[in-house]
Symmetry: C2
Subunit: 485 residues, 2 copies
């Protein structure tokens, strides 16, 4: 292939990552569980290309996202970029396939997205999003369905009440607050929301300073303020201090903290309906809370907005979120299609699940390994493997360097965390038998070993020699034993 | 988001495609079946980024592939390209994770790959490959495992003997042929293989002309020849005319057609072992045949090479293929790691399966749809949906434009191919009942309708009103009826 031999350094691009089998087994487990929930809630799957016309993406995620696009040229020299989310492609699909895609349309979509921002721990330039969106209805009942689906997806991977929390706010509530306080400038709205979003990180006093004249941060740098009047700041603080309680109680507390207006009545009525729908869907009060301090993404969304966090892994940040965006499809067509949805950031979610101990690091899809002494005829090994696979047992035949000894072969199987080894040695071949070894029991028993004799004995306890006719039944027994643990 | 409203045309990039729900359901079905087979054969999954350092990819697929790379720059201004296959990333993984990835290593990998070539029917610039590869052994027993896995994967999606065929040849056999004929020049080898690869398309006479002085093609253009001597051409023709028979018989016929040499003996011995291993793995003679005319990819591979086709959809070309490549990992490290593998081209495979009628175009993951007259309280609909989902029934609630009539709602459910509609009208709400409608039976019965009266009657036969307590059992019955068909 090359005219002269020159080594290429094998390396992953900065900000990108590989998934080795243990990572992938964990991801597959999570994806499979979530997928089944998405389907149970009536979402159907679509997929779109990784590349889009640049103009399809440009401006949809704000200035920040424009800068973070991976750009390139098509062979026809069209300006092209890698998608940065799955929501814009969804909006494109809705506009492009008006005849084929009937409304209402609820779809799920899993795939890699790309952002050329600064990589850091848990921040990658390619990451996987796992989205649900529903188009075609203005009703908050659909937003409730989205929240219920996400809660159920979180439960499906083993999280229980208290271990996750969906925080919900509403753009309309925030509009009622800000316009009600006399703030009419959109740029000021965005500035206020950015400041409020820092609440957990910097505390209420610093938020007040930033809403007012500004402050000096820990490094001594000045942070310019929004320069609101004290009375306005007081109203804002009153609102974001509303305690999180049951959803309907929170709505009433929000009512008390909001200036009276038509906007307020409409927004609160929407939240009451949302609360009722969540109750109909059986969403626990603790799983999905109304939270007036949630400010992120509120300049992008048009109605309810949600964010998902794991209290045991807050350092991972939000592991998912979403909201209603009734304006996005208008970008592509002359009519409006209302839509709402949510996205799970799979890489960050898996990091968070790992931190809270909800993922088994040793998942393996392979159940049995056929091992032999060096020199055993390969055709014979394959026959045994074939028999196991026909019985539905996921089986690898050890096939490495021909001169590898039995010990190394067995330790390979142990390292792969495979529960059963089926050993074909010269004795077994001569007698028409196989040795079946429980590799996990072998490991367990050896833990408290004091002598070589005990070591050998422990090994023998976990291993039994059976006739070829008993092979399948014996292997199944050992796998069942491993699954129990 | 935008300062002035300007519509963006919603369009897919040239050479790229979207997967709408019906496409995706078919793809998911195929992927799921194949995946289970790959796991049953002991392959474990990995994933790698879509982007690689340019130098990682450059030159690995030959000049043609270099030209077809989608290239871009990383934020650090490194030269980057989108991967064009999954084999090069696999070789990189083997070299990069020497401590973590123990040999032997057999992995599967599914993901999009990118080639900026000319798009055409069934030829996309982004397509999905679904690969298995096994590294760490020189034994052709591993090649046999690859072939057996692929055959089993093809069976798992519903193909039977005669509906698919894996053609197998061997680079070593071809070397024995060409060197045996006195052709020592590698460029000439490649040229000969390109010509032989056209055999099916242009016939043996044209192949002979191209091996000799050259020929004029149908459009009148001259095709330069390899300019071999007549006696050499006769030897080549003798070899590629070896009839396809049982694998061991074909090996013997190849022996008779090959010039005697040490190369020949070694190559034939390998093919005999491969035949024995395939027999041990229970691979039918008709499913995987030794075929001396298979010439594609032989300049890339170092040992056995395979190609998969569906005789009923030959116009789709090869739907998969692979072979042994013992040299690729050396690109990245000072040691050699032998490897062999195969790739299924998922898009083309699905096209071919559709052509031979093996894919149900109407797969849907949604089982039930809750529908109501306009104005029914949404909280009530959600409660019914929640009940169905808790029973494991995949349920969508119809939530479209508020003023859509019941007829349009029902026809939406029919269009989505959902088997059951659960209808909540005012009567049902008042009486605490639900109407359960078998949408497929409704369609069937209406086929031979002659009058309006019959139409209404047919509709009623497929529909029954039951108490809320009977809801789940009734829906399950209808789904079971739909599944039987």
């Amino acid at each position: 292939m090359e005219t002269e031999k020159q080594l290429v350094e094998p390396q992953t691009l900065k900000g990108f990552r590989d998934y080795l089998p243990a990572d992938m087994a964990a991801r597959d487990f999570v994806v499979d569980r979530i997928k089944r929930v998405y389907e149970r809630y009536g979402f159907v799957q679509i997929d779109t290309p990784v590349l889009e016309h640049l103009e399809t993406l440009l401006g949809t995620g704000g200035e920040e996202t424009n800068k973070e696009l991976f750009r390139l040229e098509s062979p026809e020299e069209d300006a092209v970029a890698m998608r940065f989310d799955l929501t814009v492609p969804f909006a494109r699909i809705l506009a492009q396939y008006r005849d084929q895609v009937k409304l209402p349309f609820r779809r799920y979509h899993i795939g890699p997205v790309f952002r050329a921002d600064k990589p850091g721990p848990g921040r990658y330039r390619q990451f996987t999003q796992f989205d649900i969106d529903a188009a075609g209805s203005l009703s908050v009942a659909v937003d409730a369905e989205i929240v219920a689906t996400i809660c159920e997806a979180l439960r499906a991977v083993g999280l229980t009440t208290g271990e996750f929390r969906v925080r919900i706010n509403n753009r309309k509530i925030v509009d009622a607050l800000l316009y009600g306080c006399g703030v009419d400038n959109i740029a000021t709205h965005k500035h206020i929301l950015r400041v409020v979003d820092k609440l957990r990180k910097v505390g209420i006093d610093n938020v007040c300073r930033e809403l007012g004249p500004g402050r000096i941060d820990d490094s001594g740098d000045p942070i310019p303020g929004v320069k609101l009047e004290t009375s306005t700041i007081e109203q804002l603080v009153k609102f974001i201090s509303v305690p999180v309680s049951t959803r309907l109680e929170t709505v009433e507390a929000m009512r008390a903290a909001l200036p009276e207006s038509e906007l307020r009545e409409a927004a609160l009525a929407e939240m009451v309906t949302l609360a009722e729908c969540l109750a109909s869907l059986g969403v626990h009060e603790e799983d999905a809370v109304f939270d007036p301090t949630l400010a992120r993404g509120l300049d992008y969304y048009t109605g309810p907005v949600f964010e998902v966090e794991l209290p045991g892994a807050l350092e991972c940040g939000s592991v998912g979120g979403g909201g209603r965006y009734d304006g996005l499809v208008e970008r592509f067509m002359d009519a409006s299609i209302p839509a709402t949805g949510a996205s799970i950031g799979l890489d960050r979610f898996i990091d968070a699940l790992t931190r809270v101990g909800k993922l088994d690091a040793n998942i393996t899809t392979t159940q049995a390994m056929v091992v032999s002494f060096p020199g055993t005829p390969e055709a014979e090994l394959l026959r045994v493997a074939s028999e196991l696979r026909s019985a539905g047992i996921a089986t690898e035949v050890y096939m490495g360097a021909a001169n590898t000894g039995l010990g190394a072969r067995m330790s390979y199987a142990g390292g792969r965390n495979i529960p059963v080894a089926v050993i074909l040695g010269p004795d077994e071949l001569a007698n028409g038998t196989v040795a079946v070894k429980d590799l996990r029991m072998g490991k367990e028993k050896r833990k408290d070993i004091k002598s070589n004799e005990e070591f050998r004995k422990a090994g023998r306890v976990a291993q039994q020699t059976v006739s070829r006719a008993e092979l399948i039944a014996t292997v199944r027994e050992v796998i069942a034993r491993a699954d129990e643990k």
